[in-house]
């Protein structure tokens, strides 16, 4: 069947022109909505503005020592490697009543973020740091835990555990490390750990931890993910399987 031809029907060019106009009109409606929303938000009262300012908490700087690099054999086996752990410390106030009041407030938290220390041991820890959680990983929930307490006084400390090959002969060659108390970095003490210390040793990375009443996050976390201050791995000419 032949299609109907209408004398008044628009030409393709007219049709395209009209459609472009309609699309623009639809888009302009979007522009109006966007502008109206901007104006509406800007017109919020001073009270709302003050509330937002009060809810925001300042950034907290956290220094994390980088992890020491691995010593890897020719056949790709890690002969020495480190693992990073975090522990949560509470700097207990020197005054018992203040300390007890803090503990009471934490007990009242609905979804308690970390195990609380036993109340009866409180007097013996006054004015000193008290370890309340250990073996935390570097995931954000761990950092969030730290920020859930309303008061400051919670400290996050990083520490390392270095594992070595079980082989005694290799163990002597690899040497040992100690932790620098000032920086928290693992430093080579003897053997290859000492010889290649300049390559293996990590460095301290400082990042900003931002906390609100809802969550915590690391500012510029992309950069943190890319450069965690870790030392470099080294490969040595030893065949681990032969030992």
């Amino acid at each position: 069947m032949m299609p109907t031809v209408s004398a008044n029907a628009p030409t393709p060019a007219e049709l395209r022109w009209k459609r472009a106009q309609r699309l623009t009109a639809a888009f302009m409606l979007g522009a109006v909505a966007v502008t109206a929303r901007i104006v509406w938000l800007a017109m919020q009262s001073e009270t709302a503005r003050e509330l937002i300012r009060n809810n925001a908490q300042a950034a907290q700087s956290v220094a994390i020592p980088g992890m020491r690099g691995r010593i890897i054999s020719r056949d790709g086996i890690a002969l020495a490697y480190s693992e990073r752990r975090l522990r949560l410390l509470w700097q207990v106030p020197a005054d018992l009543s203040t300390a007890e009041a803090t503990l009471t407030r934490w007990e009242a938290l609905n979804d308690r973020p970390f195990p609380l220390p036993p109340r009866q041991d409180l007097p013996s820890h006054l004015g000193r740091p008290w370890q309340i959680a250990d073996d935390l990983d570097m995931q954000l929930p761990a950092l969030w835990h730290m920020t859930q307490a309303p008061e400051n006084g919670l400290i996050l400390r990083a520490y390392f555990v270095r594992y070595y090959s079980q082989n005694t002969a290799l163990r002597d060659i690899l040497g040992s490390v100690h932790t620098d108390p000032a920086t928290g970095l693992e430093c080579g003490l003897t053997g290859m750990e000492k010889e290649y210390d300049h390559e293996l040793r990590g460095h301290v990375v400082t990042f900003s931890l931002l906390a609100t009443s809802r969550r915590a996050f690391i500012k510029d976390n992309k950069q943190w993910q890319e450069n965690q201050g870790n030392g470099r791995d080294i490969r040595i000419d030893i065949h681990a399987a032969a030992h």
Partner: protein, 390 residues
């Protein structure tokens, strides 16, 4: 469906002896016409002004950052690269430029496929090539070539009344480019490609039944994405205020911070106020949340010109499309208008809490070399075509 015959009344876009379906407009002298260079200078000046404003905003919103990446300086270097590309595009003869565009388009498509195999994964998305500290996002660089290819296809294949076959062809072409982006997965960029393709398909005379089909297919696709990717589903839940408070706090947190920026900024902004803690809580301040951060610093009066600029670009492109003498140029104008203004609209809508959160940069202003370069190529494309048609 009614088929039109040749009308006695000429359409508003005048046809000075050039066929409507002609791919190429009337031949223009490829020499150094003063009009073309005037356009080039005007465009370069405009891009420089916007680009420098972008660098200043990026510098302001990232102050106090622990990052050593110096985003504003890097953006400045990208701006210089983009201006060099602009100068080259105006200096080269038309035929060389078309050949170059074909080669660059093929390379961009290969890069888009290659990133799925060789790209680096950042924030769960495999969308970048990395060479030391230099990153390149092929889905951004492919945008101008997507428009050019679509326009070429429409100009070559568009009949007086497009049928299902033409519609399917256009859809197939759009999916060919969108599929690698979806596989990364980058839903924000997919949305921009989809919006541009939809605008082009509609603008070129496709019937309402096709548009309804697309709307249905798009909704089904969105549902499938929500079912497959939990984080997308959670973003929708958070946007509509549904789901548990935990989801609202975790997923809707960025949206809340961006909304707060507008409230804190008010009419005049906080740039000169004592605001040490300002912007600290807003993630992705230099790219995805740039508009909200700019609103906090500059206030409504400061960001309204940006809104006008975003939507003014589409109006300009439609004005050009109205005056264009070929289907190819018409499609390029529409595509360029919707690609950049659509991206800007989504960025603004997300920042204002009118849409679920997705990572989209503000063209020319947000940090991102690939995005800046692609935006400048699109602007250059439009201006160069406009010069050819004068």
């Amino acid at each position: 469906m009614a088929v039109t015959s040749a009308s006695t009344s000429m359409p508003p876009p005048t046809n000075n002896g050039t066929s409507e379906h002609n791919l190429r407009p009337a031949a223009r002298p490829s020499g150094r016409s003063p009009g073309r260079w005037r356009s080039a200078w005007r465009l370069a000046l405009l891009i420089t002004l916007i680009g420098v404003a972008g660098c200043l905003i990026i510098g302001s919103v990232t102050r106090g950052s622990t990052s050593t990446l110096q985003f504003h300086l890097r953006q400045g270097v990208w701006l210089l690269c983009a201006l060099t590309t602009l100068a080259m595009a105006f200096a080269l003869p038309r035929q060389t430029l078309l050949r170059l565009a074909a080669v660059a388009g093929a390379a961009a498509y290969l890069a888009l496929l290659g990133v799925l195999l060789f790209g680096v994964r950042i924030n769960g998305m495999r969308g970048w090539y990395r060479f030391h500290s230099f990153c390149m996002q092929p889905s951004e660089l492919a945008k101008p070539f997507f428009i050019l290819g679509f326009a070429w296809l429409i100009a070559r294949r568009a009949p007086a009344t497009p049928s299902w076959r033409h519609f399917t062809l256009a859809l197939f072409y759009a999916m060919l480019w969108m599929l690698p982006v979806m596989l990364q997965p980058d839903w924000g960029t997919t949305l921009i490609y989809g919006l541009t393709a939809l605008a082009l398909i509609y603008a070129c005379g496709i019937g309402w039944q096709h548009v309804a089909f697309l709307a249905g297919a798009g909704s089904a696709g969105l549902l499938a994405v929500c079912l497959r990717y939990n984080y997308v589903y959670e973003r929708f839940l958070a946007f509509f205020g549904l789901g548990s408070p935990e989801i609202g706090a975790r997923v809707g947190w960025q949206a809340m911070q961006m909304r707060n920026c507008f409230i804190k900024g008010g009419w005049t902004g906080t740039l000169f106020a004592d605001n040490d803690a300002a912007l600290l809580l807003v993630p992705f301040r230099y790219n995805d949340s740039l508009f909200a951060c700019a609103a906090e610093l500059l206030g409504v009066f400061g960001v309204l010109p940006l809104v006008i600029l975003c939507f003014g670009w589409l109006a300009y492109c439609c004005y050009r499309a109205q005056r264009s003498r070929s289907v190819f140029a018409y499609a390029v104008y529409i595509g360029a208008g919707f690609m950049l203004s659509g991206q800007a609209f989504i960025h603004l809508a997300v920042n204002l809490g009118l849409m679920p959160t997705t990572g989209i940069t503000l063209p020319l202003l947000s940090y991102g070399g690939s995005s800046l370069l692609a935006s400048v190529i699109i602007l250059t494309m439009v201006e160069r075509l406009a010069c050819e048609e004068v």
